[in-house]
């Protein structure tokens, strides 16, 4: 069979503000791949089905010398992130053709992952659950929530939790975990549609932070025993101000400052002392060893049965990936953003 086109979304240029499609990221069709004859050298050939688009990707669009918790993208190489693919060919006994795999995949139609140890064969507990869910509620974002909640929230029934970006895949899992644990949930989101979704999944109080002041809501509905922070900035400042005695603050995201915004100065830190709060930063990779297997046993079943809900915002076609990435940075996505690269 002749080589076929292998479309790729390349990292083209380090952005200073928002990542612009066609400038920061470029869709490239110049590459081809011979699906039958491309040498594998013990590895596997994967057809990409769905790719995840997450806020943290912006942090990888930086200079190589700037240190962070992850490595930066390389210019002129494909972006990569969590994805679901189908094994086309395999020289690795762990994987057989037709298997669905979850893990880090290139933003390309086909790829031969260098490190197959990070890939996991996905067997769905219920065939009704789409594979894409393994990128959201049953994937990295859901794991982030589950691990962080278990490790740091010290949740007690009757207490109050505040969640920002609560309609997103991390936030909405926190809303649902908190309701399951019997807490009162205050949720903020950036559109009326998202606020509606927060209420549907059980938030007791939900508001659009663009039209209602976070400070006012927390003054009325707080103090808060737990704050799950996906945004940082003034929202974090307000949450600290309204933290109860021994409140737990979990910093999971800081999207208010991912796109070149000037760092916001948090003026309420003295409250951490007077109320003896704790703050913890959470990153999913730190906690896989402790919670990953438990997560896969518990969460996909809840999602398949409908006990837990999820929501997706689908972009079709890798050529539209740059727009999808920008939407997530601007909060214009309506739910967990995925790019469907191929249907099967």
């Amino acid at each position: 069979m002749a080589p076929v086109k292998n479309g790729r979304l390349l990292f083209n240029e380090i952005p200073t503000g928002y990542p612009e499609p066609g400038k920061t990221t470029v869709y490239d069709t110049s590459s081809t791949i011979d699906l039958e004859n491309e040498p594998l050298n013990g590895r596997i050939l994967v057809k990409t089905l769905v790719l995840s688009v997450d806020p943290y990707l912006r942090g990888k669009m930086r200079k190589q010398e700037t240190k962070s918790y992850n490595v930066p993208f390389f210019v002129n190489e494909p972006l990569y992130n969590f994805g679901i693919g189908k094994v086309v060919r395999s020289e690795n006994p762990t994987f057989k053709p037709g298997d669905h795999v979850y893990g880090i995949l290139d933003f390309s139609e086909y790829s031969i992952p260098k490190d197959t140890s990070q890939l996991r064969v996905i067997v769905r507990p219920e065939p009704t659950l789409p594979f894409s869910v393994y990128l959201g509620a049953a994937g990295m974002p859901g794991q982030t929530s589950y691990y962080g909640w278990k490790e740091y929230a010290k949740a007690k029934a009757g207490q109050t939790v505040f969640v920002s970006a609560a309609a997103g895949p991390v936030g909405n899992m926190i809303v649902q975990l908190a309701k399951q644990d019997g807490l009162k949930v205050i949720a903020s989101a950036g559109s009326d549609e998202k606020v509606k979704f927060c209420k549907e999944i059980g938030a007791d109080v939900a508001f659009n932070y663009k039209t209602t002041k976070t400070h006012d809501v927390l003054a009325k509905e707080g103090p808060i025993d737990i704050y799950w922070d996906n945004v940082g900035g003034p929202t974090l400042e307000a949450a600290i101000e309204h933290g109860a005695l021994h409140a737990r603050i979990i910093i999971c995201g800081f999207i208010s400052q991912y796109n070149g915004e000037e760092a916001y100065g948090i003026k309420t830190m003295r409250n951490i002392m007077t109320q003896r709060m704790s703050i913890n930063g959470v990153l999913v990779f730190d906690h896989h060893a402790r919670y990953q297997e438990e997560f896969y046993q518990v969460i996909p079943k809840k999602l398949a049965s409908g006990e837990f809900r999820y929501s997706e915002d689908v972009t079709r076609g890798l050529e539209n990936g740059g727009e999808a990435i920008l939407e997530v940075q601007k909060g214009l996505n309506t739910a967990k953003k995925v790019i469907v690269v191929a249907d099967s």
Copy 2:
């Protein structure tokens, strides 16, 4: 015996900035007490020997309606704080005349404490240890350090700790606990004399933050695994910036903002997430149940033997108490500040 004068230091007026002697606090000699006949109603009559002056007292000089972790002082009543007194008369079998007691005492020459349950009879392990030490290294400040270090520092030999206000009674105990645990200690203080003391007690790096930039020292000597914060503000901001992966930050004091200063905005909070640090606020009262008896078994002996050092800055006479309080707020004291009210 005729009634004697009972000098008192009264809280006179809520300050907006620093607490001014003669305005915020007033020494009053209009009260008398009959030492032999004053009715005790089951309580004890205490002669005040030494009173502690601590930074946190500023937080009690506030309006009654402003909530915090402690209750405010009442205007026209004596200030009060940890002190050492001698029992003159007792109608409580726990205490006998001549006993030395430690606990909350009024800033008055004599008093009849309402709540004797918070008083503790002090029996010194070595008679060479002055009673005043039970207000500093062997008292509330030392306990604060000991409890917070045990609870939150997760100290490991070879790691690096940064301590601000390191010459003070809380800070210097942290320096010594950290050296005992095998850490590299970076210490900051506000005068060359204090810096010298930090080096004498074992700090590997000590600097005067008024003449050397904290940021520069931490950039050179960090990253830091633990930051013990007594000051807040830009120092806390710099410590977060130079925190290592999984760094622990313990907020114990915020003296940079006790005296009406505008709250400083901390711009480095995103690092808490990327480096997955923890922050905890510490208050001594939360941890007595777990660590107090251990503390009294361990620390006074180390102080009496000279294994741990302490340092005092003595003000003589309750009439000079207002000045002593102001000095501590301004950092003009050279060591743990105590007011000697009577020698015996």
